[in-house]
């Protein structure tokens, strides 16, 4: 048994609820009214499409189709990481796709095989939603980590040069930067892990409970998923930074200047 389906009327009421916050924004002259409608509209279209797509993915449950869907998610995440840094797509596309793919495939396989204990680890019902959670959270972490890394070179390259001039190898000089990137990207997640249950019931648990699972099952899944999220984040951030270090520097150990692109693009 699943959650009760929502009728068209239900959805109408859902959208109707928007009138309250939008009314407040309008009255207060906070210029977010248009944006609110736009965001909700965009979300509705995206989810609508995904809904159609997932319906078939679950129906067909074809291994290759499932893996292809994961690759699409990985590629979208990669572009989002690259865009948030304003760096060259050509240089960073493959390294980031590779890093995300390795950490996601390792973690989702481990999760499905050892934790959920299913033999068909590419079963769409487990593979797609759990991967989405692992990747979505890793995306946030990787954006923070790569921003920290590149911002260091945008603003404090002198420090790096000074460290090199003290006799440090590239690896030695980058160590503190890598540490800072990892720390800053993992900290928020650790903080939110520590407050789970006290402040908010996470989406996965809510979904499972609505879907008819007993709370204890939902909680066990939630714990396992949080650990897997942390693991996917840490591994992917580590690999993304490792690969960035490989492709970003010239033979003089200087960050290649052309990787920073100006404006959009």
């Amino acid at each position: 048994m699943g959650a009760k389906d929502l009728s068209l009327y239900s959805m109408l009421f859902a959208y109707l609820l928007l009138l309250v916050p939008v009314g407040i924004l309008y009255a207060m002259k906070v210029k977010l009214v248009k944006e609110s409608f736009f965001s909700i509209l965009r979300m509705s279209i995206q989810l609508g499409l995904v809904g159609v797509y997932l319906k078939y993915i679950f129906e067909w449950d074809n291994i290759w189709l499932n893996i292809a869907w994961l690759l699409v998610m990985i590629i979208v995440s990669t572009f989002s990481i690259i865009d948030s840094n304003g760096v060259c797509k050509r240089v960073f596309f493959l390294p980031i796709v590779g890093a995300l793919a390795i950490s996601l495939f390792f973690n989702i396989s481990y999760f499905n095989y050892f934790i959920v204990n299913i033999s068909d680890i590419f079963n769409a019902k487990y593979l797609i939603p759990i991967s989405g959670m692992l990747l979505g959270n890793s995306l946030k972490g990787n954006i923070i980590a790569t921003n920290t890394f590149f911002d260091y070179f945008r603003n404090r390259e002198k420090e790096y040069f000074f460290t090199l001039s003290l006799g440090a190898s590239r690896q030695e000089a980058l160590k503190p930067i890598v540490r800072e990137s990892m720390k800053r990207s993992l900290k928020p997640t650790l903080a939110s892990i520590a407050t789970i249950g006290l402040v908010s019931l996470p989406g996965m648990m809510t979904g499972q409970i609505l879907g008819g699972s007993v709370p204890m099952t939902a909680i066990k899944y939630q714990i396992a998923v949080m650990i897997a999220i942390f693991s996917t984040m840490a591994i992917s951030i580590f690999l993304v930074i490792l690969f960035l270090k490989k492709v970003s520097f010239n033979k003089f150990d200087v960050l290649k200047k052309y990787i920073f692109i100006k404006g959009e693009n």
Partner: protein, 203 residues
């Protein structure tokens, strides 16, 4: 010691310098004098291999700078930029961490030697137990000098090292460097440097 032949540098459309040539002998003290934006700091970066000129040759210690020998060349040079910053830790630990780099492993930390250098630089001994973040600009500069001396560097590239210091310290630091036997290239607007044994290079 340093030979620069016909180097050109521009950032985008802006020409920084063109056909610059300069030869600096061992032990010579040279001050670079050019309007700002004319690439004085860039020239120091080129000598360190941090920046590649668009064309021309740069030789340090008889060797043309290349990816193969850049580590060896950097190991001869002390590069002191304007506002150096150290990672947050005790000064003594920072000095030790620099000596722990693979390429510096042959140099051991000798406390007496460090304390002698501190004295010569007019720094109190207890600066070693202070946190790097609590150091003033002038103290940081002098710790930087101390470390570069521990590393036995033959060439000193000084990028505005005196600009943030008070006048007393300016004079002290300038004298200190001008008395050294190492080759020194100075970028500075301070007239405390203008002494007899200094060569002025203008462009």
């Amino acid at each position: 010691m340093i030979q620069i032949k016909n180097i050109n540098l521009s950032f985008g459309k802006k020409e920084v310098f063109s056909n610059l040539s300069l030869t600096i002998k061992q032990g010579e003290k040279v001050i670079l004098n050019a309007p700002s934006g004319k690439g004085k700091s860039s020239l120091l970066k080129i000598i360190m291999g941090f920046l590649k000129p668009d064309s021309g040759e740069v030789m340090v210690a008889e060797k043309l700078i290349s990816a193969q020998n850049i580590k060896e060349i950097r190991a001869k040079i002390a590069y002191l930029p304007q506002d150096i910053s150290f990672p947050k830790m005790k000064v003594e630990d920072f000095i030790k961490s620099v000596l722990s780099y693979e390429s510096n492993k042959s140099i051991s930390y000798e406390k007496n030697k460090v304390e002698d250098s501190l004295e010569a630089l007019m720094l109190p001994k207890d600066v070693l137990t202070q946190d790097t973040t609590s150091l003033s600009g002038g103290e940081k500069q002098r710790i930087g000098i101390l470390i570069m001396q521990l590393l036995n560097r033959e060439i000193f590239l000084l990028d505005e090292v005196t600009s943030a210091l008070n006048s007393e310290l300016k004079i002290f630091i300038a004298d200190y460097f001008l008395k050294m036997k190492q080759t020194i290239i100075i970028v500075s607007h301070d007239d405390v440097w203008l002494k007899n044994n200094l060569r002025k290079v203008e462009w």
